[in-house]
């Protein structure tokens, strides 16, 4: 048998204060698909960045095709036949598909004085053809869907003659159907002799697409298994290091009158495209209304319209019976709307403010902290202290800058601040993204407390477990429309998958309408 395509030996990567990889071994056979699993921060991306020459390992050796290598830059890795498709795409949006694919390695003419656009275009078209990709070489990347962009990233790697392809969480942003297509592409590639390593959080995908799975935990290799020989519970245990229960206790709550509603809402995205197309939602007081869907199907725009950050093109939004369609964001805050935003670092926190100042974000004029426009800093600090304590934010220091907190701690602080508003309505967008397991449970419990206190809760999340266990009713969004509203307790994963892809199977368990009852 020939040498393995990739053989990483005792790779250690030390960041200031973080040991991201700790003597990791990894062997990937030529022509195989290898999945890398692990929780957030387990060190997966770091390991692959080492293989791709973006990071130099603190110690350990990289062997490719039986040859020991030191990569000083991605250039060296590319030369060794390695291509990487990053978690965040490395594409230049205003440039065309062809330009992106050939970037850094353009075919030239006239003694190098001009890019041979014709040759480039043909090369790209030919590659796309060979692997069955349907892309327009002249299209501008900024106009393409996420799935298409991903394929361009793959083309980029192939164009550079990559034999080993690394994909960092390639499925996170795809619909189930696109995921299927991607796995078909994997088949094409391995048939052509390419080796594929992909990173994932999703156990079932790994089992479905990979030949072998390696699990990382806390920077260490926990083990490599053949996918034929494991099931998802075993893998989950390997990942987390203990048995995992996917359950949250939820007491039945009497729903009140409608707290939050959107009627026939149409919202456009930044480019003027209809991102939300006629959505009707009614969330009763004391109810959690979940919204599931693949990222990018209008959830963000819907939430922004409801919370007052985006002006809807048409339709109506009401809060506690009041029409707030044209009301300012500030009015909504003052009327008791809490909002855990999706983008915590751009919106939810001011990164250079300390926690005291961040604790005021949105309530800088609330009588609780200010009289007549004058801020009472001692009260603000006490407030921040209480959030820090209650939500176990670390470091437990109200004077720490937000940027010095880890992502999970940032998220906990935001959730704490918003839930502390004693809100009438809560809009929570991915509230547990990047938060550790213990904190997730805490946040879930607090969310349910709010529900019990009679708040109308709109919960958007791409974690299906989360929306299913917390929601009283569950809406599924696809392509800007609310495909259906289902009973989260009764719906199956398969049915959800189909709904998220925009199809409507007949036998879906509809949610009973709970809203509109008397107080």
């Amino acid at each position: 048998m020939s040498a393995p395509a990739v053989d990483l030996r005792r790779i250690t990567k030390q960041f200031p204060g973080v040991l991201a990889n700790d003597e990791v071994d990894l062997t990937v056979e030529r022509g195989s698909v290898h999945a890398l699993l692990g929780e957030n921060g387990a060190g997966k991306t770091t390991l692959m960045n080492v293989l791709y020459g973006l990071y130099k390992p603190t110690s350990g050796t990289v062997v490719v095709d039986g040859e020991e290598r030191t990569f000083d830059s991605p250039r060296d890795a590319i030369d060794a036949g390695i291509g990487m498709i990053h978690q965040h795409f490395m594409l230049v949006e205003p440039m065309t598909v062809t330009q992106n694919v050939v970037l850094g390695d353009e075919p030239r003419k006239w003694a190098g004085l001009a890019v041979d656009r014709e040759a480039a275009r043909e090369a790209v078209a030919e590659l796309a053809d060979r692997y069955g990709f349907d892309v327009d070489p002249e299209a501008t990347v900024g106009d393409l869907s996420v799935g298409e962009r991903q394929r361009i990233e793959i083309l980029k790697a192939l164009y550079r003659g990559a034999d080993i392809l690394i994909l960092d969480e390639p499925t996170a942003v795809l619909t189930p159907q696109e995921v299927e297509e991607l796995f078909d592409v994997f088949d094409e590639l391995t048939a052509a002799g390419k080796t594929i390593i992909f990173i994932s959080h999703k156990l079932r995908e790994a089992i479905a697409a990979a030949d072998e799975v390696t699990v990382l935990r806390d920077g260490r290799n926990v083990g490599t298994v053949e996918t034929d020989a494991v099931d998802d519970t075993e893998l989950a245990e390997m990942m987390v290091g203990r048995e995992v229960l996917f359950d949250t206790e939820k007491s039945p709550v009497e729903a009140g009158s409608i707290g939050l509603a959107a009627r026939d809402l149409v919202v456009e995205d930044d480019r003027g495209v209809r991102a939300v197309d006629g959505v009707d939602i009614e969330v009763a007081e004391g109810e959690v209304f979940g919204i599931a869907g693949v990222d990018g199907n209008g959830q963000s725009e819907l939430v922004e319209a409801i919370t007052g950050l985006r002006t809807p093109a048409s339709g109506q939004i009401s809060l506690d019976g009041e029409d707030v369609t044209d009301a300012s964001r500030r009015h909504r805050i003052e009327s008791g709307m809490a909002y855990v935003p999706e983008d915590r670092q751009a919106r939810g926190l001011v990164m250079s403010y300390d926690l005291t100042e961040n604790g005021l974000l949105g309530s800088q004029r609330a009588p609780q902290f200010a009289d007549g426009g004058r801020i009472r800093w001692d009260d603000a600090e006490a407030h921040a202290d209480s959030i820090v304590e209650e939500y176990d934010v670390r470091p437990a220091d109200a004077n720490a800058e937000a940027r010095s907190l880890s992502g999970g701690n940032q998220q906990k602080f935001i959730v704490g601040r918003e839930f502390a508003r004693d809100p009438e309505a809560v809009v929570a967008s991915h509230p547990t993204r990047g938060v550790d397991v213990g904190s997730v449970e805490f946040i879930h419990d607090r969310l349910l407390d709010l529900r019990e206190d009679g708040a109308a809760v709109l919960l958007v999340s791409s974690k299906l477990d989360e929306v299913r266990s917390l929601s009283d009713r569950l809406g599924v969004m696809h392509d800007g429309e609310l495909v259906d509203v289902v009973d989260p307790a009764a719906v199956t994963e398969e049915q959800l998958g189909l709904l998220m892809a925009g199809e409507r199977p007949d036998d879906v368990p509809r949610a009973t309408v709970r809203a509109g009852g008397e107080r």
Binding site: G308, L309, S328, R329, R330, H331, R332, I333, E334, Y339, P341, D343, A346, R347, G348, L349, V350, M351, S352, Y353, D354, E357, L360, L361, G362, Q364, R365, A370, G373, R374, I375, R376, W377, D378, A380, E381, N399, E401
Partner: protein, 376 residues
Amino acid sequence: MNPDRLPDPIAGLLGRLVDASAGERLLVSVAALVTAILLGGVVTLVAGVFAECATPIVGPFCYNPLAVYRYLFLAPLFDSFVLQETLKNSALLLFTGLAVAVSFRAGLFNIGTQGQLVLGALAAALVAVWVGPAAPSGPVGGALIAVVAMVAGAVVGGLYAAIPGALKAYADANEVITTIMLNFVASDVAFFLVSAYFQKPGSGSVETRDVPAAARFGPEIALVMAIALTLLITYLLWGTAFGYDLRTAGIQPDAADYAGVDAERMVVTSMTLSGMIGGLGGAVWVLMSVGRWVNGVPSLGFDGITVSVLASNNPLGVLFAGPLFGTMQAGSLSIDFQLGVPRQLVGVIRGLVILLVAMPEFFRTLGVRWGMGGGR
């Protein structure tokens, strides 16, 4: 620092202002200043080789950097005339530095303080000349005129700044371009207005009539006003919800949106506030420095940018940066006068200060190399 031990409201405010990174920025500013002075010394020495002089200090060197810096920084101490100039410059730079700092804090690159100052100054001069005869005589009347004139200056400066603010907020027009253009427009329009309607009879310059002598005040009063304004703005920015909104909008607009700040209104409001301070500076220039509006207003507005940058847009920093540049500017007359060193040298040194302030990384590297010996 631990703000807990100070009385409550002050503690909170100070704690906010002097955070960890403010300390570092202060260090960088001081290091930049010292380095710029060293570099400036080298420039002086080298330039001296090319100059012609009767008595070189040594060898081919005509200019003595030490003497230059003695005059530049210490002249106010022994020369009462230079002291007066220093006080005047400092007061004016406090106003314009503050004006720029407010807009920069709000994330707006207001290059237009100059234009706002020019028109504010004109308004102040005209109003002072106009209400002069109606005001009661004596110091009370003078103070009254001065106050009315300063209000006029602030209002006109604010309104003029509101134009680029509104264009930015509602038409998405880049404020850097509009304010640069409006600077040109302001000086042309002021020139036209004065020469067409308000020309001082018998004067060959384009200038207004003199403001009543009673309305004029010395640099001491201007300084007191400037310092009071600085403290007021500091309080406004760090002690009030409005300031919180303004700073948030400047530092992270998306977060400000999230916090319910009306982004468009904030752009217009903060530009207007900045323009008002600039216009006020113009009024002070008229009442304190020249006693009338005269064509060829000094570039106080641009100098304000450098002051604000050195102060990292912190009003309390402006309190030091303004007088520093004010001293250098007054001292520049002395080096020209006493040493024959062209005073544009001070412009070079100031540029170097700004350049070095912009590169904290450089000093961090130096710090690592010298302080901790050997990097990572």
